[in-house]
């Protein structure tokens, strides 16, 4: 089936990214927007914009019935969910299937089964993907303490249906479990409608490494290299790069193969990411979870593989398995770094900084890509994620990419609101970052504590 007209059920930079890819393919675009997003880079580019509802997401972007109704009323034949919002809720592809719309993403059943982290661990185990020691659902803290004793402290308590760090905490001993079990369970219940928690062995000084996968839904899957997303604050990624240059070639190859095998075994269709923790000391990797959506950091893989992953999503959704390239056709070359630009004030505990952007002047030049929905005069609404754009740098190797990223950030001017541009610069100039000596806790525990700006 050829897709002629797509509805984009998202906002911000990813809506711009999807509209661009669709227009390249000659596909018409309908963008849904909340009242607060009626004027943005994305609404200016879309062929048609429909206002779904008021500003709060739960009355607009998070209502699957409104999205599908809008798609049907504007005679779209496909829906692209982007990331966040409804992208990993099975209800949207289910409704799309019911009404004859193509959902640009994996099958509803795949989203459902991988969405539960305990179930996902079982699936990964069946495909022989390495797992950290872990448990099934744990409903009370006495059991949590017994299990933690067996695994050995420190342990990581996680939400069974979770993601994004909510309902998650590290326990170094029994006291931590006593203190945090109930509040984490409550947080998980509120965020995901499931208060179940489970335990995993906690790998200290770990890196977060992930493999970008595409599958044809018929048992064939390929990878587009790996990404290292270890520069994080409160489980929110800030800088992502690829490939992960501290991994041994043997480990990298076996991690990529494990990810491909897992997704092939699942008959995974469309794009997804297999996330791992990597222990540099032991040169070992362990499965975390599968993200059943296109991710924020997908441009890193696009830059090093030369493949437009959003266009690939469209092509795969049309149902032709031949569009999936053979693995040996995908050549990973060079190094890419992505910096997330946020409207927030790092000097004031990262307090969000919405408001009007008086001047937006992104850098330009070879190896510089900026994905954003912003422009001079754009009003950053206070209702959504604080990310206002992404700077993606490509160069022959990591050092060259860092140098180019620093030069690009120095030439990035955003006036009118507070941003993390200077913080990103300081991270890129930091010796630990340059030497590639950091873990997922480094930014939060070391860098930000010792970081004083002149």
């Amino acid at each position: 089936m050829t897709i002629r007209k797509v509805l984009i059920a998202n906002r911000g930079e990813i809506a711009v990214r999807i509209i661009r890819a669709a227009h390249d393919l000659g596909i018409e675009t309908v963008l849904v927007a909340s009242e607060a997003d009626a004027d943005s880079g994305a609404t200016r580019m879309a062929d048609k914009v429909v206002v779904l509802g008021p500003a709060p997401s739960k009355a607009s972007y998070l209502v699957p019935e409104l999205i599908v109704h809008a798609a049907l009323s504007t005679s779209c034949d496909a829906v692209h969910p982007g990331y966040g919002f409804l992208s990993e809720r099975a209800i949207l592809p289910e409704l799309c299937d019911k009404h004859g719309l193509r959902f640009i993403g994996p099958k509803a059943t795949t989203i459902q089964s991988l969405g539960n982290k305990v179930a996902a661990r079982k699936i990964a185990k069946a495909s022989a993907v390495p797992l950290v020691k872990g448990t099934s659902n744990i409903t009370d803290k006495e059991k949590a303490k017994r299990e933690a004793e067996t695994i050995g402290y420190p342990v990581l308590m996680k939400a069974a249906s979770g993601g994004g760090g909510r309902g998650m905490f590290v326990a170094s001993d029994e006291k931590d479990i006593d203190a945090q079990f109930e509040s984490a369970s409550k947080e998980a219940e509120e965020a995901f409608g499931d208060g179940n928690l489970y335990l995993e062995q906690y790998i200290e000084n770990a890196r977060h490494v992930e493999v970008q996968i595409a599958g044809d839904g018929k048992g064939r899957a390929v990878h587009f290299g790996d990404r290292d997303c270890s520069v994080q604050r409160r489980y929110q990624k800030m800088i992502e790069e690829g490939p992960c240059s501290i991994m041994s070639d043997t480990s990298r190859e076996s991690m990529r193969s494990a990810a491909v095998k897992l997704m092939a075994d699942l008959n995974y269709s469309n794009l997804g990411t297999v996330e791992f923790v990597y222990d540099p000391k032991r040169d070992e990797f362990f499965f975390i979870e599968v993200n059943t959506r296109i991710q924020v950091e997908h441009p890193v893989s696009e830059q090093v593989s030369g493949v437009d992953l959003i266009k690939l999503q469209f092509a795969l959704a049309e149902g032709n398995p031949n569009v999936l390239p053979a693995q040996n056709q995908i050549v990973i070359k060079g190094h890419a770094i992505e910096c997330r630009i946020n409207a927030e004030d790092p000097e004031n505990n990262f307090f969000p900084s919405p408001g009007r952007i008086a001047n937006w002047s992104p850098p330009q030049g070879s190896g510089i890509r900026v994905d954003s929905h912003c422009f001079s005069g754009y009003q950053v609404p206070p209702f959504y994620d604080s990310m206002i754009g992404k700077l993606i740098i490509t160069a022959p190797d990591r050092n060259a990419a860092i140098a180019r990223a620093i030069a690009a950030l120095e030439n990035f001017s955003i006036e009118g609101i507070k941003t993390n541009l200077n913080l990103l610069l300081d991270v890129l100039r930091d010796q630990c970052f340059r030497d590639n000596r950091f873990s997922t806790k480094w930014l939060e525990n070391d860098f930000l504590n010792s970081h004083v700006r002149d």
Binding site: A38, D39, V49, L52, P54, E65, L66, H69, R356, G416
Partner: protein, 162 residues
């Protein structure tokens, strides 16, 4: 950030009013904005309190950068004539003039309505929500044709208030 205009503040207050948030706190170089539901006030309706700290006493000049108007007009941008009130769509959906396909329309032009008179139906995926006039007066115009898709806040029916 640029000095906030009266309009910026009004839109924040409006958005807060439409949300289900308990409070909102925005702080920038030039403005501290705090707005909260006031449960202790004894008022029955939700009350909002806008408190502009370091208030802007200077005349706010027009911003140096003015956002261009989007080219594509959406249905929600229809201008309601002076002296008229519009019944607006509570969300995106399909507009129907009749409770059932074989019934008479809820209202016709010239009808007198009160606040509680139902004037149309909005359907989202087989979920039908009647929309009330919310003001009393005379129906002047039905702005949307039967079965048409309408957007959030789009004017549907014009009323001349009595």
């Amino acid at each position: 950030m640029d000095k906030p205009s009266q309009q910026d503040i009004e839109s924040l207050v409006k958005l807060f009013g439409e949300s289900d948030w308990k409070e909102m706190h925005i702080k920038t170089d030039t403005l501290e904005f705090f707005i909260s539901e006031n449960p202790g006030s004894g008022l029955q309706n939700r009350s909002v309190q806008a408190n502009v700290v370091k208030s802007q006493t200077e005349e706010i000049k027009s911003s140096p950068v003015v956002a261009e108007k989007p080219e594509k007009k959406s249905g929600a941008e229809y201008e309601v004539p002076k002296g008229m009130l519009a019944v607006r769509a509570p969300n995106l959906g399909t507009f129907y003039r009749r409770p059932k396909p074989d019934s008479d329309p809820y209202v016709e032009v010239g009808d007198e309505v009160t606040e509680s008179t139902e004037v149309c139906l909005i359907e989202v995926m087989k979920l039908f929500t009647p929309v009330k006039a919310e003001s009393s007066g005379e129906i002047i115009e039905i702005l949307v044709s039967d079965g048409e898709m309408v957007e959030f806040n789009q004017p549907l029916v014009l009323i001349k208030p009595s």
